[in-house]
Amino acid sequence: MMRAATYEDAMLRVHAYVDGELDPANALGVEASMTNDPALAAERERIEALRRLVRERLPQEASPFGLRARVEATIGMRGARVQPSWRALAASIAVTAILASGATSMLVAPLEVNAAREGIVDAHIRSLMARQPIDVASSDRHTVKPWFNGRIPQAPRVVDLGKEDFPLVGGRIDVIGASPVPTLVYGHGKHLISLTAVPAAGSADSAPASSETGGYNILRWIEDGIAYWAISDASATELDKFADLFRTTPPDQ
């Protein structure tokens, strides 16, 4: 009885050890017990294999898009102040800006980096709070790119990264400073990545530089006169991988 209870505890401690729930003293104790008892060492390997399996192979299912709208309707939030007025405003500013800038719209002045950062973080957060994080929902770059063509001076480069586990979710127009800029939205597991392309004519190309604001990871790089801003609550490593893939994948392959 005593033996069984002790052995049971030893097993539970191995689980707690793998889960990182033990303080250093207890963790050392478990390590010693695993060295002495092959059964405990084997259990540790099995737990780790199972956890790896769950992490890597269990399908992660994001909530259906309509669910958010349904939830917001349930609590009387839809049509409230949180987002639609912003969406309408953004659209009207976009239209005005296009009309006002006319033929010179390709030469929108480069924006101040810090102001842009704030605007991009705001836009990303706002989009997560809105009914949908996107204005055009499509995983097909041949749908997303033309959608931008009709609305802003410069449609962004759109690449398909679905095979690499960064499926295209859609796109939207954000307003940074007073300029409408295209934002692509990619998914990754349960995270969304907003990729905003801000005109930066005349700026030299630069490699991705990372920063972090309010729990969001941000990467910024410049390529061919466009400053790309990727922002997400995905980990910095995942965002790095995304930026790498985006930069190295040709738009039309």
Binding site: L53, P64, V71
Partner: protein, 215 residues
């Protein structure tokens, strides 16, 4: 002393209020006076900040508990309404654990009402847990590590789906949603010792199912 102190466990699980009523008290106590809404923030804004970011996790947990997408959406909707009604009294602290607690309790209430036949009665499981030691589950016919590593997604999903609800929710909260033992204890309303034994048993059963079905 045994980590999973059965005496303690039975007393506490027996006293648990399954309607979720006790949790409100628990969280209200935990929040204290810090739990007041930030100045200028109305309930909708607070809801958008504390609840909406966890909608994916909420849906995922509801889907694992109900085993059905449409049911999961209904549960999340009901749970959101409950969360909204309590939103003014909850602290900013761990909003994810709070949201998942509500979703979890709503899911069981919802199942009891709408799908009574699918729900294994939790009390029976607890009786079984007390009657036999964890080791009985743990060290028999556990497959080799290599076999576990080779399992495919469908087999893994099926093995988790056929776990008893109490084991399944514990395993999902830990291994899929990444909650710590203390948070799981908070969400499921059982002592940490029970969380540990349920997690170990749930994992052991999943391993055994994988071993059985892939050989």
């Amino acid at each position: 002393m045994s980590i999973a102190n059965r005496q303690d466990q039975n007393v506490l699980t027996g006293a648990r209020d399954r309607s979720g009523g006790r949790l409100r008290v628990l969280f209200a106590q935990a929040t204290g006076s810090d739990g007041q809404a930030a100045a200028g923030e109305d309930d909708h804004q607070r809801f958008a900040r504390l609840v909406l970011p966890h909608l994916n996790d909420a849906y995922s947990l509801a889907r694992w508990i109900t085993a059905n997408r449409a049911d999961a959406e209904d549960v999340v909707q009901d749970a959101s309404l409950r969360a909204f009604r309590a939103i003014a009294n909850v602290a900013d602290g761990n909003s994810r654990a709070w949201v998942l607690t509500i979703v979890r309790n709503t899911a069981y209430t919802w199942l009891r009402k709408n799908r009574p036949s699918t729900l294994v009665v939790v009390d029976d499981l607890e009786a079984v847990e007390s009657a036999q030691g964890v080791t009985a589950d743990l060290d028999h016919e556990t497959p080799e590590t290599a076999l576990i590593a080779k399992a495919d997604a469908a087999l893994l999903e099926a093995a988790i789906a056929e776990l008893p609800p109490a084991y399944r929710e514990t395993l999902i909260l830990r291994d899929v949603q990444g909650l710590g033992y203390r948070e799981i204890s908070q969400v499921t309303g059982v002592p940490i010792g029970t969380v540990m034994s349920r997690l170990a048993r749930g994992r052991a059963q999943v391993m055994k199912t994988i071993g059985r079905k892939s050989s």
